[in-house]
């Protein structure tokens, strides 16, 4: 349990640290905003059209496939830890589980979810 308390304290300090780094910078830096300076950067010209551009579905498919695979890996890790002790059962289990993963990957591949459009 000690370790987790340490990590918790560490986490809080990593959250505070960036703001501590910003304070001395705040004292040193000038601030003279002009309207031109505050325009979002677009290669030196005024921005054209809306800035919050919409994105095509390609990104979404990648994210969806990732979600499925990542959940599967979470399930595989406890199995990997106990692999040495379980013997033949773990070996058979492995072929079943990796087989399911391979079929899933093959399906996503054939459906074109892994192709950049």
């Amino acid at each position: 349990m000690d370790g987790y308390i340490g990590i918790g304290v560490f986490f809080v300090i990593t959250l505070i640290f960036p703001f501590l780094a910003l304070i001395p910078a705040r004292l040193l830096q000038p601030r003279q905003p002009t309207p031109e300076k505050l325009i979002p950067y677009e290669c030196g010209v005024d921005t054209i059209g809306k800035n919050n551009v919409q994105f095509h579905i390609g990104y979404f498919m990648y994210a969806l496939v990732f979600l499925l695979f990542d959940i599967e890996t979470v399930f595989l890790y406890p199995w990997a830890v106990k692999y040495g002790e379980l013997g033949l059962f773990a070996l058979v289990e492995m072929f079943v589980f990796v087989g399911i993963l391979a079929v899933g990957l093959w399906y996503a591949w054939k459906k074109g979810a892994l192709t950049w459009k």
Partner: protein, 345 residues
């Protein structure tokens, strides 16, 4: 039972403090504070050194001299850079999402620094040796996707938005092969504890038993930390600086700090998981061996970064999903069969 130098020093401090402080809790808190201070010193100090090292290595590979004006041989260059970044105007562009925009550079530092708590630097020298160490490291590093997306979305700039989306796509594509590659290491060790993983490499380093996993991990680690040749995120020739486009001064420096903290942490992870951690011949202490291996890995990662041209985003995603992931799955199968046959013999 442990004989790491820092571990023995810690024990001496503990014994010296106990009569003064009176209670166990105060002593533990003091040691914890010392550990955190050391870790932050390591992260920020290494960033200062690596900015210079990066430019020197880059210059060496491109047959240039590199920075040589500030201080003897350019050694004070990173201090000058730091002062310059601190005194730079902090521009807050119009139309931004204030909360997300301010939080993004702050939050990017958290996962980069927090994983140092789980790294074994020497025998017994580990800040928090928890029983799910490796899994916790993977969980924390995968959070570093969010600040990029936040920064990209909040900046109200097209380049930042595209950069943020690309970061997410690339990090997701390479996280899966990386997690699968490390599964081989876990199967051989039978534990997720970082100290146990190093302990299991006393006789044979895992780079010998898991060469495929080692290569997959190296590629995936470069992608996850946005190092060149995979720094699509800030591909200067395409999308300016990606999610960092609208950030200036100290806020931008925080992204930079996280990047160098990541360079050190992927080198430490490679060393710990595949190159035997602090193990080495007896004539040097474990910590020195650890430092040597980590520095070699830092130089190797920089060497790779400055040798290969940057990849295109669609090529990279295709490589991650269609090449690395099947290889990583095969690696899990081979490791499983290998361990079974080895136990059966």
């Amino acid at each position: 039972m442990h004989n790491g130098i820092l571990y023995l020093v810690t024990q001496d401090i503990r014994e010296a403090l106990l009569p003064i402080a009176g209670s166990e809790i105060i002593v533990n808190l003091t040691i914890m504070a010392l550990g955190i201070a050391l870790m932050f010193g390591l992260v920020t100090g290494s960033a200062l050194i690596f900015t210079l090292l990066e430019r020197k290595v880059c210059a060496f590979i491109q047959v240039r001299i590199g920075p040589n004006r500030v201080g003897p041989g350019g050694t004070l260059q990173s201090l000058a850079d730091m002062l310059k970044l601190m005194s730079k105007e902090d521009i807050v562009p119009q139309g931004i999402d204030m909360w997300l925009w301010v939080l993004s550079p702050a939050l990017i530092f958290v996962p980069s620094a927090l994983i140092y708590a789980m790294f074994p630097f020497d025998d017994g020298v580990i800040f928090a040796d928890v029983n799910i160490g490796l899994f916790l490291i993977l969980a924390i590093t995968s959070q570093s996707v969010l600040p990029f997306l936040m920064g990209g979305y909040a900046s109200n700039s097209k380049y930042a938005m595209i950069g943020g989306m690309r970061t997410v796509a690339q990090m997701l594509a390479y996280e899966v092969p990386m997690v699968f590659a490390l599964m081989g290491v876990v199967m051989l060790t039978g534990s997720l504890k970082m100290s146990a993983i190093v302990e299991a490499q006393t006789d044979v380093w895992f780079v010998v038993l898991q060469p495929l996993a080692f290569l997959i991990f190296m590629v995936a680690a470069l992608v996850e930390s946005n190092r060149p040749p995979f720094n699509i995120v800030e591909g200067e020739s395409e999308i300016i600086a990606g999610p960092f486009t609208e950030y200036t001064g100290m806020r931008w420096a925080l992204f930079f700090l996280a990047e160098f903290a990541n360079l050190l942490s992927i080198s430490i992870m490679t060393t710990t998981l595949f190159l035997g951690g602090w193990h080495g011949p007896e004539f040097l202490p474990g910590m020195v061996w650890f430092a040597i291996k980590v520095m070699i890995m830092v130089l190797v990662y920089q060497w790779i970064g400055w040798t290969f041209p940057r990849l295109r985003i669609d090529h990279m995603l295709t490589f991650g999903w269609k090449v690395l992931l099947p290889i990583a799955l095969v690696n899990v199968l081979l490791t499983g069969i290998g361990i079974y046959v080895f136990n059966w013999l």
